[in-house]
């Protein structure tokens, strides 16, 4: 390409055009790899915040040209100290747009496409378009969502995972001086849901401490947030706390100060109040840089196979000195996401829901006891039948007599079945025939 100058990629070429002692066993040095990395490979970066800015810069400089970046946030003044693709003039603009513009202008040949959107705004057909997804997120809910999406895209033939359907996920996370990087091969290695226990729980103080025996300034702020706000509705009935609304934070701070004085507690500031309300953990720019570098390296390894990828979870902590270790997070047999290989069942449109339930109870393979069934019709959850809960049973009983076409099932309909005989909710994919057999 015209934007390349002599020797621009020679460092990258050294890794992919010759082999070495650390090379992946399957690695074949090739001059085509560079073309794949630059022209074919499509990456998605989720999050354009502290980690996202680093990831985008690193990956674009490695030579990945086709990068999409998605973020639902706009730029706040407080981001500027570490989210280095943004300038004061950008405040208020979408992070994804500004980050993409910056890199496209700064790095010759870069083709970054921004998406000012929530990840939930896009469906499977969007996510299928990428070779690798890289996450720089601060939300567990968002991580679990994308994890669930990538797992649900897996295709199986005779129970065998089809590798073309697999989109690896490289996930970075930071909290202050701590961080982690992990490589997830959905359906093959531990996924986000398998390791849910590894995510630190939200810090919640006992309610009675907050209510009666506060000792810390945080207890006073939590008192105002949890107990006083819903009682006094200072900004009107049904107005929830907006952590970015200075009037809200000011009110909470004033009331927290009153409470703190009552109990001789000091240390309430505006910053602390906002931090507690928004559950902010101070971001450290260098941690983001370390974790993003590790993640970008993994993306490079996955894309070129030049070296064995991280297996599969790296922890990093530089609170005192530097501490890091890597371990293999294990898959959970009853993982709600990746252990659910859809099982196929075949019924005809004129069969009734009761027929499916009878099958689940009587087939030698399942022998279920009291299956509860749900599905998704036109994007909405629908409870088909649940025998154990009286109020649901009464309201769903009539579904038993309905035919599958009356229930608006389509070919490929997914049925989710919970039963005491299985450790997690199973997914069934329905092949729907139109004639009786």
């Amino acid at each position: 390409m015209s934007c390349d100058w002599p020797g621009r990629w020679c460092h990258v070429q050294k890794f992919i055009e010759r082999t070495g002692p650390f090379a992946h066993p399957d690695f074949e040095p090739s001059s085509e790899s560079l073309g794949f990395l630059q022209e074919t490979c499509k990456l998605l970066i989720i999050g354009a915040g502290g980690l996202g800015c680093e990831l985008l810069k690193d990956l674009a400089l490695i030579g990945f040209k086709n990068i999409d970046i998605i973020d639902m946030d706009t730029i706040d003044v407080s981001n500027l100290n570490r989210q280095f693709l943004f300038r004061p003039k950008d405040v208020g603009r979408p992070k994804a747009d500004v980050a993409a513009d910056f890199i496209n202008t700064r790095i010759p040949g870069a083709n970054v496409t921004p998406h000012y959107a929530k990840i939930q705004d896009y469906d499977e057909s969007f996510y299928r378009g990428f070779h690798i997804v890289v996450c720089g997120l601060d939300s567990i809910v968002a991580r679990r969502w994308i994890n669930g999406m990538l797992v649900s895209m897996l295709q199986y033939e005779d129970g065998e995972l089809q590798q073309e359907s697999l989109v690896p996920m490289v996930d970075g996370g930071t909290e202050g001086f701590k961080g982690n990087a992990r490589v997830i091969l959905p359906g093959m290695t531990a996924c986000v849901e398998c390791t849910l226990d590894l995510y630190p729980p939200q810090v919640n103080f006992p309610l009675c401490t907050i209510a009666h025996t506060p000792r810390l300034p945080e207890h006073c702020i939590e008192y105002v947030r949890i107990l006083l706000w819903p009682k006094e509705h200072p900004f009107g009935e049904d107005v929830p706390i907006d952590g970015d609304e200075p009037k809200h934070i000011q009110w909470i701070m004033d009331k927290s100060l009153e409470r703190a004085n009552e109990f001789n507690i000091s240390g309430i500031t505006y910053r602390l109040t906002q931090g507690v309300v928004k559950r902010i953990i101070p971001a450290v720019a260098s941690t983001n840089a370390v974790i993003a570098a590790a993640c970008s390296t993994e993306v490079f390894k996955l894309a070129t196979s030049c070296t064995v990828p991280l297996n599969n979870y790296m922890n990093f902590n530089d609170t005192e000195g530097i501490y890091t270790y890597t371990f293999e997070a294990e898959r959970k047999e009853d993982c709600m996401a990746c252990s659910k290989i859809p099982k196929s069942i075949t019924f005809s449109e004129s069969d009734k829901l009761q027929d499916i339930i009878t099958y689940l109870q009587e087939s030698a393979e399942y022998q279920m006891k009291s299956p509860g069934l749900t599905t998704n019709i036109k994007g909405k959850n629908k409870t088909l039948y649940m025998p154990t809960i009286k109020s649901i049973e009464e309201k769903t009983r009539e579904n038993l007599k309905k035919t599958l076409s009356e229930l608006e099932f389509v070919n490929g309909q997914e049925l989710y079945v919970a039963d005491p005989t299985t450790p997690m909710t199973l997914t069934f994919k329905l092949s729907l025939g139109s004639n009786m057999e």
Binding site: T40, S125, L207, A211, I389, S391
Partner: protein, 182 residues
């Protein structure tokens, strides 16, 4: 280990896909709550009610204790399960005004597994049993309603009378309680 990409592999361009489509599959939180609900094993003093059976994330629990201070009463709890479940605990509020050391007059409940001791292995069933236990053994050590806790600690007889009075619908001090007897 596998080699993930052949060099020629070209991905379908998905960028022009419609933005309207929400995730058409059930979330992990959804699948987990379905499991919890299907396997609820309720004590005979409890029942759950789903105003919308298609929405397993929002429901009510009714506890009607058959022994202890609160025998004969009927207490409704509102459960809100978020997409963070089971990493985050469900949000539970008591909708019935109750004279109880661990439940304040706004319906906030002080139960450790709802906050500081929540773990993803716990289930809706664990919370139901926890709440039921609060009615059998109100705990004055962790008070949310301090006045009620003090009475329980110093004068069990008076506490018992106050509970009975509140459930019939009456004043305790300056607070008026709604009748909640079955």
């Amino acid at each position: 280990m596998i080699k993930l990409f052949s060099l020629k592999q070209q991905k379908k361009d998905g960028v022009d896909s419609d933005k309207s489509g929400s995730h058409k599959k059930s979330s992990a939180a959804q699948l987990r709550i379905q499991k919890d609900i299907n396997e609820l094993n309720l004590p005979k003093t409890c029942q759950v009610d789903f105003p919308d059976p298609d929405d397993l994330l929002n429901f009510k629990l009714v506890i009607s204790p058959d022994e202890g201070f609160y025998r004969g009463g009927r207490f409704i709890f509102n459960f809100k399960v978020g997409q963070g479940y089971p990493h985050d605990a469900p949000k539970v509020k008591c909708e019935t005004m109750v004279y109880h050391p661990n439940i304040d007059l706004e319906g906030n409940v002080c139960l450790n597994i709802l906050r500081e001791d929540w773990k993803p292995v716990l289930t809706v069933n664990s919370i139901v049993y926890g709440l039921q236990y609060l009615f059998l053994e109100p705990n004055p050590e962790d008070p949310l309603n301090k006045e009620a806790a003090e009475v329980l600690q110093n004068n069990r007889r008076l506490f018992e009378q106050n509970v009975a009075k509140s459930m019939r619908g009456g004043y305790i001090g300056s607070v008026c309680f709604d009748r909640c007897l079955k």
